[in-house]
């Protein structure tokens, strides 16, 4: 009996310890090279003087300390953009949360044409953002907006009317209307995702819990506040976190709908970073602006981790 171990090259690929890292390698390399590295670069850029014309950090003298941050902070537009980003996100997501709860409840009921309604309600999320926003852009056109036409027909717009004497509202040309429009389109865009996540949570509430509540004589409102909403809370948090991220970091809506206008009144961090960094060619300042997104992202990532961990503990 030979007690020699039969370690054999042929069986190397059968070992977990060999195969596991090998399988993970491509994903990890991809993420490190094209997410990790750019993230580090974003920070480096923000402290350097790189431009589109001279995009290299070649030495010590390319670093300018907090100059970029001082420069962007002293710019009125940046502060507008920062405020708009926060305000747009907060307002739109409060509305989304409210509407998503209602819509999820509607879609969890049975009614004729439910599949069609679900399909239509999902459209804003399934369409490429830029193209969906383009539809709104046309609906809110300064001259041919159908909303303006309706207002004119019922006597709200035009000479001698409450919103007159102009014949158009100039939805995207007036500060508050434009800001309202951006929020509206945010709601329109994020509502479907939040709804379907909540819907998944609703359908996961066991039928016997609902039956028990019925038998206990709990009415609609009591069931809503004491059963559905508390049970939905974790999933609502997930929906909200996703929605916040998408709204907070969005560039497309601001860019396509208003291009930040009028006079930068709908500028957000992402769009301002784009205008400064790519269009203006000042990569360093653009990166510094975008860096202001990071704290919120980190906070949301931590919140997500906690939620996932709690979900894992509950199912374990």
């Amino acid at each position: 009996m030979s007690a020699t171990t039969t370690r054999d090259e042929r069986y190397l690929m059968d070992r977990d310890r060999v195969l596991g890292p090998l399988f993970l390698l491509p994903a990890v390399v991809y993420i490190l090279a094209l997410v990790g590295l750019p993230l580090v670069l974003a920070v480096l850029y923000a402290f350097s003087d790189v431009t589109v014309a001279d995009p290299r950090i070649s030495g010590r003298d390319d670093f300018v300390g907090f100059d970029n941050f001082r420069a962007i902070w002293s710019d009125n537009v940046f502060r507008k953009a920062l405020r708009n980003t926060v305000v747009f996100t907060l307002i739109s997501q409060v509305i989304v949360l409210l509407l998503a709860n209602i819509l999820a409840m509607v879609l969890s009921a049975d009614f004729h044409g439910k599949r069609l309604v679900r399909f239509l309600v999902l459209l804003p999320w399934t369409t490429p953002v830029a193209l969906g926003v383009l539809g709104w852009f046309w609906m809110l056109d300064s001259v041919y907006s159908p909303i303006d036409w309706m207002m004119r027909e019922v006597g709200l717009l035009g000479p001698d009317t409450p919103f007159g004497p102009a014949r158009n509202m100039y939805w995207l040309g007036t500060t508050h209307l434009a800001q309202g429009a951006v929020i509206l389109v945010h709601v329109w865009r994020t509502l479907p995702l939040a709804t379907v996540i909540l819907l998944a949570g609703l359908t996961a509430i066991p039928q016997d819990i609902r039956d028990a509540a019925d038998i206990d004589g709990a009415g609609f409102w009591r069931q809503l506040f004491y059963i559905r909403l508390p049970l939905l809370l974790p999933i609502m948090a997930v929906a909200l976190l996703f929605a916040i991220i998408f709204a907070f970091t969005d560039l497309t809506i601001a860019l396509v709908l208003t291009r930040g206008g009028p006079v930068n009144d709908t500028q957000v961090l992402a769009s301002w970073a784009y205008f400064k960094g790519i269009q203006g060619g000042n990569l360093a300042q653009g990166a510094a602006i975008a860096l202001f997104l990071l704290p919120v992202l980190v906070a949301i990532a931590i919140a997500m981790l906690r939620l996932a961990r709690r979900a894992g503990e509950e199912t374990a």
Binding site: L22, V28, R56, A109, T127, Y274
Partner: protein, 298 residues
């Protein structure tokens, strides 16, 4: 005795009537609210379709009722889109980018998701969540440094820049999505294949992959549509028309200065929106399972 019975039945019918009234009211509210939401969501799309077939003479007259065809509908705008713009090129670019991104995603995600579910034990799950969190890092934070990286690689103003970068958001989400599917494959059929004389890789190829085909298909659809959706990178990386995808292309070709080819723009959007919506709708439940972080067990 008789009176009590009578009054009892009376209150009974009264209550039944009230219940029925409430139920009818409930149904009415339900339909009204559902219709309201459907209208809100679909209005821009209805508007796109309506606009697509309008003649210039109809569209650009503010006094015309914009909800009807005052002049007969026309195919002219779609013809213009197909024949006189780079729209077909945009479509081809979009498809090419999406298909290659799907291939890269599958090649990277399948082994990674397998390793995280099967080979790495308990910390695999945690690493999976970490990889998922990468999905939350938005393009708006990365597009500026990535512009530099892309330039260093000599890919500026090329659709291959998008091919290279798009997997950064498809890989994290799809790894997570596929982990869910792999978790559902019974361990034993794979071990059985190894007992039956196959190596680990053969066992995966012959048992795990065929059984999780629905999951892989979901990954294909999801990474395909995510590539279709992308706007920020496409905008930052590519300037020439022949390299552009639909999302950014239509803006340069159909908006010339301040002249908007509205009908063709709307046609361009609608032609992409509806097929993608149908795809999504079919695979919806599987995407949601990914988004809910396992907090909901289907």
């Amino acid at each position: 005795m008789a009176t009590t019975t009578a009054s009892a039945t009376e209150t009974h019918t009264e209550q039944a009537g009230r219940n029925r009234g409430q139920r009818v009211l409930g149904r009415v509210v339900l339909y009204v609210v559902a219709t309201g939401f459907a209208l809100f969501a679909a209005l821009p799309f209805a508007w796109m379709v309506l606009t697509t077939f309008k003649a210039d003479s109809d569209l650009y007259r503010p006094a015309n009722n914009p909800f009807v065809y005052n002049d007969p509908p026309t195919w002219h705008n779609i013809n213009l889109l197909w024949n006189d713009t780079s729209y077909p090129t945009f479509i081809l670019n979009t498809l090419l980018v999406a298909v290659v991104v799907v291939l890269i995603t599958i090649a990277v995600v399948v082994p990674a998701a397998y390793a995280l579910t099967r080979l790495t034990g308990r910390w695999g799950e945690s690493l999976g969540i970490l990889i998922f969190l990468v999905y939350l890092v938005p393009p708006t934070l990365l597009f500026i440094p990535l512009t530099g990286v892309v330039a260093d690689l000599g890919l500026q103003n090329s659709k291959w820049a998008m091919v290279l970068v798009y997997p950064t958001f498809t890989i994290p989400f799809c790894t997570w999505l596929l982990m869910g599917f792999f978790r559902g494959v019974p361990w034993e059929i794979e071990e059985q294949a190894m007992i039956d004389g196959y190596s680990r890789i053969q066992a995966i190829w012959k048992t795990v992959l065929p059984v999780s085909l629905p999951g892989i298909l979901t990954v294909v659809i999801f990474s395909f549509t995510l590539s279709l959706h992308e706007f920020v990178y496409a905008l930052a990386f590519v300037q020439s028309s022949d390299q552009k995808t639909v999302s950014v292309g239509v803006f340069t070709e159909l908006i010339r200065g301040d002249v908007f080819f509205w009908q063709s723009l709307m046609a361009a959007a609608a032609l992409v929106a509806f097929p993608v919506a149908l795809l999504y709708n079919y695979f919806l439940d599987r995407f949601i399972a990914g988004f809910t972080l396992g907090a909901v067990k289907g």
